[in-house]
Amino acid sequence: MLSIPFGLYIHIPFCKKKCAYCDFVSYANKETLIDSYVEALVNEIKASPLLFPSPSKMERSGTSESSDGVRSIYFGGGTPTLLTPPHFEKILNVLITDYGSRVTDYEISVEANPGTADKAKLKALRQLGINRLSIGMQSFNDKHLKTHGRIHDGRTAIRFYEDARAAGFDNINLDLIFALPGQTLEEWKSDLQTAIDLKPEHISAYNLIIEEGTPLWHLTHPNLQITDYGLRVTDHGLRITSEDEEAAMYEHTIATLTAESYKQYEISNFSRPGYECHHNINYWKMGNWLGIGAAAHSHVDGKIWANPNCIEEYIMDAGRRQPDKTGTPADEKREAIFMGLRLLDGLPEEKFTGFENELNGLIAEGLLERSGGNIRLTRKGLMLGNLVFEKFI
């Protein structure tokens, strides 16, 4: 029985309110659908040949080989913490109780938003076996939180973190965004320090990307050019950060977190040793991942496919589709390089066969370097990563 190792991603596309910069697949005001959605998730899990290759055999022998492939579980969104502990229980049970599994030995992450769970709820989630929490802080500055449509303020955010600790979570990530329109370097420094002072195990610090179609996009210069990476000041009252300011914020982030013993293991991800996010590392190493839920993407055995974005459509179809049979082939080689270089340790040089010219050119330009059998971004390459990635796509 084949049991390829894979990461299991479960998408929860519900939100109380959409944030101004969000371009994820998520919907506000659809919470009434949560119950049927969770049913659908359970059905999809049960029907997945990857998770349960031959259920009848399973029932006979009662063994757990079926779910042996799972190496990490990640509940992303939207706002997964809009679900109740019984919802989570229902989903996890399919994997843990019904068919037996050692799944709880692995990393089970849930994305959480301050304001959507109290201490009791967090405790219940912890007791279900969820062992990692990824909290969407973004900023601790109330002015910025407001511009960006977040439903909480700085103090709520900090209290939420404290509740999470009290609930027993000992593997916590804080998501932060810098280069918010109107944000100064000083304001970012302050946000970062507040995060560090909370002493989480992991920090993700992302440079804001203003995505087409989001409210922030509409508030900014309509001719924002993608070819010229610098963002420009607009006449809409929202000052966009310049390329130089972003560079300064990013450099400060790396320097400060490194000095505080967080290791930068990926372009935007920093952690205490041993607390890297396994689920995400699987992506950058181009492993296999199975996506459950609306809009979820899968990449298994060289093929890719995705579920429909629309919640209602997903609910109707779940359990009846066979998407992994119709998946399209991935462009493995190029994507392995493009993703692998995001990890600061890089990837083995063998992965670059066929791209020797590009590789040598980039090494000559000082953007890539050799290190113990691997090729990785230099510090300059880290800052100008797109120039490197472009050569391989």
Binding site: G7, Y9, Y206, N207, L208, I209, Q225, I226, T227, D228, Y229, G230, E243, D244, E246, A247, Y250, I267, S268, N280, Y283, W289, G291, A295, A296, H297, H299, I304, A306, E335, F338, M339, R342, E365, L382, M383, L384, G385, N386, L387, F389, E390, I393
Partner: protein, 594 residues
Amino acid sequence: MDIGKIRNFSIIAHIDHGKSTLADRLLEFTGTIEKRQMREQVLDTMDLERERGITIKAQAIRMEYQGYELNLIDTPGHVDFSYEVSRSLAACEGALLLIDASQGIEAQTLANAYLAINHNLVIIPVINKIDLPNAEPDKVLVELKNVFGIEKDEVILASAKEGVGVAEILDAVIKRVPPPKGSSDAPLQALIFDSHYDIYRGVIAYIRVVNGIMKPGTQIQMMGTGAIYEAIEIGTLKLGLQPKDELAAGEVGYLISGVKNVRESRVGDTITYSKNPAKEALPGYQPIKPMVFCGFYPVNPGDFEHMKDALLKLQLNDAALTYEPETSAALGFGFRCGFLGLLHLEIIQERLEREYGLDLVATAPSVIYRITKTDKTEILIDNPSSFPNPAEIAMIEEPFLKLTVFTPAEYVGKIMELSIDKRGEFKGMEYLDPTRVMLTFDIPLSEVISEFHDQLKSCSRGYASMDYEFIGYKPSDLVKMDILLNQEPVDALALIVHREKAYYKGKLLAEKLKDVLPRHQFEVPIQASIGNKVIARETKPAMRKNVLAKCYGGDITRKRKLLEKQKEGKKRMKRIGSVDVPQEAFMAVLKLGT
């Protein structure tokens, strides 16, 4: 048809005064084309023309009305094409002078009217668009009296859109326009007033037979070039070619003679029989001279042959377009092209990009300079980058124009400022009527071809109009300004400027280039210099951050697309030395205004 019953006439007007709409109405009214064949503004066959609402090619059409044969010859309305207008007028005996009731006499109204008068045409004044709420026909009547001495009772009030006045216009054409003079017995003289290349038939010449009778199957001669051809087919025009057995004196029609290139069938030339030629050609023939030049370079060097082919094809139907291969250290292989004016240039550029799918870079438009060197030799230069060493230059002369501007009186101040800023010399001012003024200036052509027209429109809220004619060369204190990117001079960005404006223009240009140049992995100094002296400098900072912050499993496809787009954007740039220069940089030079 008895020659006494023929009327050859044209419609002359300023742009947008309703010429094409009126032509449509005349065709409809006379039943020349049926309603169902009606496409708005029928005579403009090119898509580009229709889009821009301007006529580029002149066409002709025969109508029949009350026993008379009325030949309507359409003319281009833009100042760039005045030669073509004059040849069309030479084929007529009368002209409808069309004026927009809400705008009054404008620059081309006057220019075309004078052309018509110079050809001894009978002028039938028509005030159009009387249906508009802001129409002021009485005011226009005053202008017509003041400027041309035209009396009120000669004027027809019309609305081409509503169909008002059409019958009166046709009656006036019949009554007031004289029949053509000429004898069918005399030796053949036929004027080519337009020609058009058709991929199936070759060149179709539009002709007005002045004397003699043209028959197919005979041997004809182009008197200007001496070349002999066979008249394969002749006929008349009515929304299509209608072959006939003969075209007699006074008639208008077409000739197909197997000519492959419009240059061999030149507008203004006279056709006669090789066996019994006329003693003299009809007057007025002039070889066309381009006035404005620029370089066209394919962004992709591999497209050079394709561009060559495209220019060849465009030239088939455009006798005024000239081109010659040239090279630029910065841009590689391209062509130096000559045009009648800026509009002509823009039209050709757009056709190359749109009809032939060429991604191209156009350098700033230039004029021909006459340089007298220190060794007393004279050279003509049409490309700033081929200017000789300043040490060898004794004098530089540039082409000058007599510029006429029509404007409401309240904008005179701003227009004076604009023209003087462009090195124009004020020559005179005349009142057309109490509220409208005609200004004349002597001004260098080089100042007019870059954006002058747009600026004139902006400072007069669109009400001013202009016309110009070439008056000769005058010396000016000009210098060549070089642009250096990353210490390398970019020949394609070189400019000829007046010495007093050099610093100002250099600074402006450096700033614009800093804006459009993308960041590179190193700092790029941008300099403007005259000879060895750097007169302006800007620096484009180096790229500091350019990396996708986020990419997880589900994002891969999307982020790849983003990077591919960035990559594509780079491909459309021209690499000059170590610097990638976008098309916009060349446009920045072109649009160096104010």
